[in-house]
């Protein structure tokens, strides 16, 4: 049996008295389509920050493909194929769309430590970045600075940057958040057509998307896992309906 793509054991994080992750045991299987849901403030983004290494846990362990990465910083985790996106777009706003993706690809190819040779001439990085933009229908905006793009397009660039890092595990933190309905289609399409060997964990408030996309769902409430199961099990659970789905329906 292969080790889970990500596993957390007793993951705990507190800011002073505020407990934001309270002993989370979680496994994301290789190639899984998994969703993490929960009310606002449940600690979903904190969980992504812990797993990706942006925050270090107060206690507990994080395993990536069976390897303990708890003590590693973000960079080596990314090198091992763990890639995340951000709930609020995190891009190089002054740089062109193409360069945003090229920076990621160059970094992943291990070229970015190169001090003296011109960046533009390096082993097809720019071409690969452009090919990525073509895949996501972003090629027409390649030369435009990111800040000039509508927000929905920026979310797509965010995904292009993540895919440029050739992830084996992808953590998507509300990829369609803040995107107007008519622009979210391409984002959802892109997510649904991700290669099957990438394990995907998606945090999302759009329940239609969650139930359409995920094979398994984990419900997080106040820093703890309330339950995990198939979409059908989650939808039928009275606690989930009360705490989460009910609350949203109000």
């Amino acid at each position: 049996m292969t080790a889970p793509a990500i596993e957390t054991r007793g993951l705990r994080k507190n800011f002073g008295a505020l407990m934001v992750a309270n002993g989370i045991d979680f496994a994301l299987e290789a190639g899984a389509r998994h969703a993490l849901i929960g009310p606002n403030g449940a600690g979903k983004t904190t969980f992504v920050n812990l797993v990706s290494g942006a925050l270090s846990p107060s206690a507990g362990r994080i395993l990536l493909g069976g390897e303990d990465v708890t003590r590693l910083t973000q960079a080596p985790r990314v090198k091992r194929g763990l890639v995340r996106t951000f709930q609020i777009t995190m891009l190089f706003r002054g740089l062109s769309v193409l360069e945003n993706v090229a920076l990621a690809i160059g970094e992943h190819a291990g070229l970015a430590g190169d001090l003296l040779r011109p960046a533009g001439t390096r082993s097809g990085v720019v071409e690969r970045a452009y090919a990525m933009l073509e895949r996501l229908d972003l090629a027409d905006d390649a030369a435009r600075p990111v800040r000039e793009l509508p927000y929905g397009r920026q979310r797509l660039v965010e995904i292009a940057v993540a895919l440029g890092l050739e992830p084996r595990v992808l953590l998507l933190d509300e990829p369609a958040a803040g995107v107007p309905g008519d622009e979210s289609g391409i984002i959802i399409e892109t997510i649904e057509s991700l290669p099957a060997d990438i394990a995907v964990l998606i945090i999302e408030h759009d329940m239609d998307l969650v139930f359409r996309f995920a094979q398994r769902i984990t419900v997080l409430v106040q820093g703890s896992v309330l339950m995990e199961g198939t979409p059908a099990e989650i939808a039928d659970d009275p606690r989930v309906r009360e705490i989460y789905l009910g609350e949203r329906a109000r």
Binding site: V78, R122, E134, G164
Partner: protein, 336 residues
Amino acid sequence: MAASRLGQTDSSPIAPAAITALSRRHRLRPLEALPWIAALASYFLFPDYLALGAQILIAILFALSLDLILGYAGIVTLGQAAFFGMGAYTAGILAVHGWTEPISGLLAAAAAAGTLGIVTGFVVLRTEGLPLLMLTLVVAEMIAEIANKWDALTGGADGLQSMTIAPVFGLFRFDLLGRTAFGYALAVLFLCWLLVRAIVYSPFGRSLTGIRENATRMHAIGAPVLTRRITVYAIAGSLSGIAGALLAQTEQFVGLQTLSFERSGGVVIMLILGGTGRLYGAFIGVPLYMLAQDQLAERYPVYWSAGIGVLLIAVALGARGGAFGLWDRASHWIAR
């Protein structure tokens, strides 16, 4: 639809404009010869001002080194004089002790200042913004105070006296007119500029821009941000050290003012006047500042620094991006 797109990686037979632009950005443009032509011309046009000219070239190198960290990597500092002074004192102390060969003196200065950059960068670069500004200031003040108190090595408040520097390549003696000083400073500035230019267009340089634009994103794409910042801080420190050593060798004197807060602050002002992150901001800002200083000091001998202050306020309010910012807006306006 998206599924079929995801499989494809073919690009069009003719490279799209966006690719061409990005992969040719590093190529030399004819306009980039302008500062060098101007410098060479002034050697022949103003033979009586070569000593001043050498000082300007040295200040340009200092500002250029600052541009690398402030303009490209977004590291704000009020302590760059620490590296300038470190280089000046290294070259000076070597010369006083009999090591008078100038080029190896420059290299020693670069090594000493670069080491200072690695050691202090390891601590101060863990912070950003205002705390970073304060810490760089603290480092510079500490170095200045060590130089002040360590009389035996540095000459303390009197500075390093009776330095002699051997002729460059054993051929070009440092003369009173400053011909050698000018040529020497120009050649060193040119080589350092080549290095800085290569760095800013390299993948490393682009990743610095990424760090300036969004450090959180750089972490998330797997960049070792702290290492990159320390690296560029050390490189800029080395270049500042070379500038300091040039001043020491051409003036054959090193004093505490090489480490002063005025020098740290002054170089920031010069760079901002010219424009940061543009590679040529130093080449415009330094002469602009020195010209303004000269004119103001002539007219208002007592209050000239107030005039510099007014100029800075004007730049901050009306000309963000310095001279280059104005140029950008003017060319935008004309293009419309």
